[in-house]
Symmetry: C2
Subunit: 89 residues, 2 copies
């Protein structure tokens, strides 16, 4: 079984209060030198069968219509070859 990762992040022009809260907390906790933090979502999908062009097209459609709100969010789809996937082949 193959793993496909969909990362969903707020578009750069959209305010990210979660990321800002993290960024502001860092100096207080002793961590300097971080200019900006953006927080988003990561979906790990375990796909049955081969991850071919058709499967990726479906996952792209899924990300666009369901996982991300494309008015305010961008998404990327990546195939991840991990050890678990290798083992279960």
């Amino acid at each position: 079984m193959a793993r496909v990762v969909v990362d969903v992040m707020l578009k750069p022009e959209i305010l990210d209060p979660q990321g800002q809260a993290v960024q502001r907390a860092l100096p207080r906790l002793g961590f300097d030198g971080i200019a900006d933090v953006r927080q988003g979502k990561r979906f790990e999908l375990e796909v049955e069968g081969p991850v071919d062009a058709a499967a990726l097209a479906r996952i792209n459609e899924m990300a666009e219509t369901f996982l991300a709100n494309t008015v305010i969010e961008d998404f990327t789809v990546k195939i991840e070859a991990d050890e678990k996937a290798e083992e279960s082949k």
Copy 2:
């Protein structure tokens, strides 16, 4: 400025109700063939100065003590070379 990405996911043995909700909604929406979905967090950190071993060690400590709850979550730290980072050099 370099971008470092911290991915935080629930440990495999921890129940993920958010991921399950997504997985159950997929067939209803016409998307089949997804065996499992896990949802986690993605932090994009813009790091001032060079991302050397010392900076990575600090970011690892930050992720371990602040961004992730290591009782229930795993995290990975990756340096991401993106176009924006290249341009601003």
